[in-house]
Symmetry: C2
Subunit: 593 residues, 2 copies
Amino acid sequence: MGIINDRIKKLRKEMKKHDIDCYIEHNVDPHMSEYVNERWKTREWISGFTGSVGAVVILKKKAALWADGRYFIQAENELSGSNIKLMKKGLNETPEIKDWIYEQLEEGDLIGFNGRTFSDEYVEKLYKKVKDKNIKIIEKYDLIEHIWKDRPEIPDNKIFIHELKYAGKKRDEKISEIKDKMEKDNITNLIITQLDQIAWTLNIRGSDIKSVPVAISYLMIGKNDVIFYINKKKYNSKIKKILKDDGIIIKDYDEINDDLNNLKKESVVSYDKNTTNRWIVNSISKAATIKKTRSPILLLKSKKNNIEIENLEKCQIRDGVAMVKFLIWLEENIVKEDISEIRATKMLKKFRAEDDKFLETSFDTISAYKENAAMMHYHAAKESCSILKPKSFYLVDSGGQYMDGTTDITRTIPLGKLTEEEKRDYTLTLKSHINLASTKFLYGATGSNLDVLARKIMWENGLDYKCGTGHGVGYLLSVHEGPQRISPKPNNIKMEEGMVTTIEPGVYKKDKHGIRIENTFITVKDEKMGSDQFMKFQVISYCPIDTTPLKIEMLNKEEKKWLNQYHEIVRKKLTPYLNEKEGKWLEKKSEKI
Amino acid sequence: MGIINDRIKKLRKEMKKHDIDCYIEHNVDPHMSEYVNERWKTREWISGFTGSVGAVVILKKKAALWADGRYFIQAENELSGSNIKLMKKGLNETPEIKDWIYEQLEEGDLIGFNGRTFSDEYVEKLYKKVKDKNIKIIEKYDLIEHIWKDRPEIPDNKIFIHELKYAGKKRDEKISEIKDKMEKDNITNLIITQLDQIAWTLNIRGSDIKSVPVAISYLMIGKNDVIFYINKKKYNSKIKKILKDDGIIIKDYDEINDDLNNLKKESVVSYDKNTTNRWIVNSISKAATIKKTRSPILLLKSKKNNIEIENLEKCQIRDGVAMVKFLIWLEENIVKEDISEIRATKMLKKFRAEDDKFLETSFDTISAYKENAAMMHYHAAKESCSILKPKSFYLVDSGGQYMDGTTDITRTIPLGKLTEEEKRDYTLTLKSHINLASTKFLYGATGSNLDVLARKIMWENGLDYKCGTGHGVGYLLSVHEGPQRISPKPNNIKMEEGMVTTIEPGVYKKDKHGIRIENTFITVKDEKMGSDQFMKFQVISYCPIDTTPLKIEMLNKEEKKWLNQYHEIVRKKLTPYLNEKEGKWLEKKSEKI
């Protein structure tokens, strides 16, 4: 831990140079991406804590790191030896970061951070908290940059065009829809900083972030022009021409600063306060009018067009075939060799990669045996990784990025003898899944309204899964995509036709087992009664759900019917792409119950 | 309609005097009460429209009135002959009031209204809309006051003390809890303008509003003092002494203006922007700091204390007895005489009024035969009122204000032969009711999460009721009480232990029938699993649910069990208070299915 203490010492020297009394870092990139490129793992570098979420606050004499429940144990290990105090988020006794800073600092003190990696909303809240103590904030210093000698540069990976046969809608059509919405809202300039929104709008993709094929860039849609800010190394003249032919101007990544600076008095600029970084916000000309609104692209992007849906259907079938091949391999080999969680992950990727439209996995596979699966976000590390044994459950949550879609599926596989509790919990999970998946709902319902349909059966049995029930899925974009989500948290996003969303309830019992059954669904229209449009979920994940762990007596008629119908669909979709042996395996696995 | 045109003419003269180009009225009192005293039915007086909600906007040459779907037909009738245009709220082509005003007015025009009857939130939004057209707003003129010659005065009905044996908690205890919350939030002055919050805090009641036993007044809770602003005629020296002994200062109703004016620089004033009128807001000293927050009293008031719950239990039993007597009377007399909806209402009130703790009905009874019940908020008027016939359904939604509680219950009663559709819809309504009433849920769930548990069965059958599923109920206060509600609309209020809430799904078919089954429930704790506290609804409405319309084959085992258990409870609770004949009737009505 000498390294960490040494780095913090160097940071404090930098802080002193600029009179900064408190410095904040938190593994966030300028685009508020869910996953970040190595360059922006600044909190990891300065603190040693490798979790995906968490901030570190360095004072002149103290330092503290906030981590959530998933990471309490890991953070404790990774911080041991350093002088950074672990703050366990969510516990009653743990203060919020801004409250802690407020308590620790004195009147006239200075807080510093790199404004490029902090959202407008975050900083506004911090300002509000500290202003009555006359604490100042300076947003322009990236102090880590000065001391992290071999820090990776902004990636200069090449972008590529996502062809119309995949994207389904021309970029100029998309832009014109966005402009219509801007006109309605009297907005002259829309700033887009989220990378998946930019990629979707321009029908381009990149490879700057692992598992999410996007490119570091900004986008500004003006009344009369569209400017794409991206570094020169990232595109060739062919791509430049394609974009130029559609009226898109390309400028360097950082040039957005000048353009924002020079906005005229008549400009009405819109940005999303939750995802736009402060460097951008501070660049906007003081003469312009600002409207903080949710980006219209979020909703447009979430409602998949017909070609996207057609493609996704094919992509999901190929993904299902890979899953089936993996499951057969697992069944055959578990008795022959020691299969570790990591080896299973690699084999699953191999089966997916056989497809020529496959690019990469859509997130780090969760390959978790038995009690490991009780940790919802478990990732097998080389050292701690378990060997699969012919008993209990093995959970595998995985997905792929394909040219024609993004997949996400979880199966919990019985490897041998199960306890009664394991069977019961598996059956409850399936009941919970079916109760939501089979529901018909009135157009207008949100994921926050529908969540309980899955959760109710858990509650009846004194259980609860400590996460949402489902999330939106991008199309060759982020596997977690808004604006909809199925969760008890209040939200006002209606489930719209064409949205792609997962349903993934589960049972997680510490030191025992973790069970999750996840499929992906498209929201489609059902009947219309008068002016009432009803909707339903149409499944698009094709892979058998193992029936051997089920306590059949716990299932009612409708649930059995749903499962048998689902297996019929799976057989129909996958069989044409399986060899005889595989077909027979699937037939057996999908037998009527 | 000469009267209305004449009144509007006079109003326009007043508008001209003050250079006002646009004047707004909307039957709202200075306390944003759900129901208002006659004095504040200003929109009704100026427009002739008698509905409970709706605003009228008078321009120099035009006038328009906004009414919602419940009132389209009624408003059309009531406005005919006047020159007021009906704006049908909720239709796509209907502009919002503020957008319409913005379109109609010209630069430099002046909007006027009586600031005492407009909430801060309403006016802020109006300002925001019109400011870029340089339209001015003047909030100080109550023009109706000048032309409504026989306008009722502010009522001077006497208040009375709600004794501790009913209220269950002393006023100084309540105030100290409120002050604790204020201290936590760094608030020095809390302004309370909602009459039920004031009544609850001070353990007083009044009779200024029909169906809601409250008194026109304001309340300001300061760090060191509590001031109750109420006109002198409304209390006697005995009450003054009781309040004074608890440290409550009494001042005249309007004196709050001076006190707000004189607030010092150190004051941090809090009020609820949705329920505080602009006259109050404009009175606050410019030196003071303002924090717009939800009143802490809302949540405190909603969680009934143990004595309130004990009392409510007794009150609900007496209310149930009155309902049973009414149902027996109805059954016996429908074959003997012509019973009109209004006569039934009167008889039900008579049975309730036999109880010596009864004060008044808690809202205007909805007594609706057959297709009349399809109008959710139907009120039998003398002219249009139907005669009950021995076929189809009769719906009665009613409640009482008692010294020891407020009740609200709906039963749908078969008066004779039913159609298959009526039976099916009745059974669906009961299934929907039971599915929510019997649920166990994790602490933290909101009414917005739970709503779908009742609604799902309707959706499955292509139906939907166009209203929430349930609302909070006050305690000798408003029958509709926040902050919780069971509705699909997003809200973040958890269902807390001790909250009293209705469950009242229904089926409404225009020109056919309306069915609703409503009981009231207390939220109570269920089992605790680890740190997961589960909750459930405990029923406190006691009156049989008619089983003869049920299509028994549509009910599953759990639903039958719930209904049989409910009827067992009803029998156990009510039988001791019934005579032999009534007891036998109840026994038959609550037979096992």
